[in-house]
């Protein structure tokens, strides 16, 4: 499960280049910031604000890329590049991927 969600090479490179302790701090920061980014995404969808929707998806993609969270980054990128959708299917998919991704990242912190 973990392997499919997190690109091992990217995460290892991050820890090697920046230090394991800092990488852990960065994961912590992402996990505490992510709920806010998801809230912004949903608020933009409800408020029909295409700019903010794109920007929120962009931020999630950008952070997912830092940790090699491929599935999360791919879904967020697809949302960033698409029009503001009529229904919240894409958001629900992103939520689900994030739930798994965050679990995988937390597991990594306790390795």
């Amino acid at each position: 499960m973990t392997d499919a969600l997190i690109d091992e090479a990217v995460f290892t490179e991050l820890a090697d280049a920046m230090g394991a302790e800092f990488a852990a701090e960065l994961v912590d920061t992402f996990l505490s910031e992510a709920p806010g980014m998801f809230a912004e995404l949903r608020a933009a969808f409800v408020g029909r604000d295409a700019d903010n929707y794109r920007r929120a998806a962009h931020s999630i993609k950008s952070n997912a890329d830092v940790f090699g969270a491929r599935a999360l980054a791919d879904q967020a990128r697809a949302m960033e590049m698409s029009e503001l959708p009529e229904n919240d299917t894409a958001i629900a998919t992103l939520d689900a991927i994030y739930a798994d991704t965050s679990a995988a990242l937390k597991a990594r912190l306790h390795d």
Partner: protein, 341 residues
């Protein structure tokens, strides 16, 4: 490490990105300040000094494109190197950054080795810019340096109204024959120091120094309220200072130095003339010729400062000048009024 330490401003709305970037920058031996959007960054740039800007594109309030536009429009910030760090989608967005003046583009997540290479290259460019600016201040007057900074350098001129002042030392060649080379240069240096102070003190620029003479411009490149009056005041100040210098020389048994001034006001074509490799700010036109002729005429007329009608009319104390008989100057179709100050 501290010697090459640079101060960077990281602009990013995302906390994870800010943390990662600042940590990378600090690990490379530099100092980082943080701004969470473009508006905050522009405020920080007004008060703080930074060597390089690391700029995100997608940001609320003021995005990266708007920051690049604002920097471009500000002469004091235009030369600040900007490295765009973004995961923005689409090649056209990256092209837009470069077109708006960004130095470089690094995709996110930022690779530390790549960042180091790009940073060093940008810092080197910044160092060269700063050096250029210093050189410019040394070899050009403040006004020309300011004009170059604001308008940029282009060969070509503008028509404008200005006052031209010529001055040189009478019979300098004969004078210098009895002097050692060192004494000659020292005398010239004293002369130039006095002349430069008087010219710049009245808002003019020395555009040409040739042997024992110089040409100064008033009202170009920067406009003056009354360029004729400024030039006349500068000439009078120079004449007074030469009087003081001559008293000193007389006391030491040295020969007196005679100086002549010619002032003319009118339309000139002013701008940078030369080649792209070597150019000078100068002006040409009938007004310049007239000032040179007036200066040469001081020998004949027996007055130290001569000016033309247009200069005389603009003087605050125009009546204080003495009208001389009109002169037919070489290159001019009719006889012109001449005034002694």
């Amino acid at each position: 490490m501290t010697e090459s330490q640079a101060h960077l401003l990281i602009v990013d709305d995302n906390k994870v990105n800010r943390l990662l970037m600042s940590r990378s920058v600090e690990m490379l031996g530099h100092r980082a300040s943080l701004a969470e959007n473009g508006r905050v960054a522009m405020q920080m740039l007004q008060t703080g000094r930074y060597d390089v800007l690391l700029l995100d594109i997608e940001m609320p309030e003021m995005d990266g494109f708007e920051v690049l536009e604002a920097l471009k429009a500000d002469p004091t910030l235009r030369d600040l190197p900007v490295i765009v760090t973004s995961s923005v989608e689409g090649l056209d967005n990256i092209v837009r950054c470069i077109e708006l003046g960004a130095e470089d583009y690094i995709p996110k997540p930022v690779n530390k080795t790549l960042l180091n290479a790009r940073l060093n290259s940008s810092l080197e460019k910044k160092r060269l810019y700063d050096e250029q600016k210093k050189l410019l201040q040394r070899f050009a007057t403040d006004e020309v340096a300011k004009d170059l900074n604001e308008q940029g350098f282009t060969i070509g001129g503008r028509r404008m109204t200005a006052t031209v002042l010529f001055c040189d030392i009478r019979d300098f060649t004969a004078l210098s024959e009895d002097m050692s080379p060192e004494a000659t240069i020292e005398l010239l240096n004293t002369f130039y120091t006095l002349m430069f102070d008087a010219v710049t003190g009245h808002g003019g620029i020395v555009s040409l120094m040739v042997g024992d003479g110089l040409m100064a411009l008033f009202g170009a490149p920067q406009a003056l309220e009354n360029s004729a009056q400024s030039a006349a005041s500068a000439a009078q100040e120079m004449r007074d200072m030469m009087g003081v210098l001559n008293q000193e020389r007389d006391a030491m048994g040295e020969s007196m130095i005679k100086v002549g001034f010619g002032i003319a006001t009118g339309e000139v074509v002013a701008g940078y003339a030369g080649t792209d490799a070597r150019a000078t700010y100068t002006c040409i036109g009938k007004t310049v010729n007239l000032a040179a002729r007036l200066e040469a005429h001081t020998k004949v007329a027996g007055h130290t400062i001569l000016c033309d009608l247009q200069t005389q009319r603009a003087l605050v104390d125009g009546e204080g000048s003495a009208p001389l008989s009109p002169v037919q100057f070489k290159g001019f179709s009719e006889a012109l009024d001449v005034f002694a100050l």
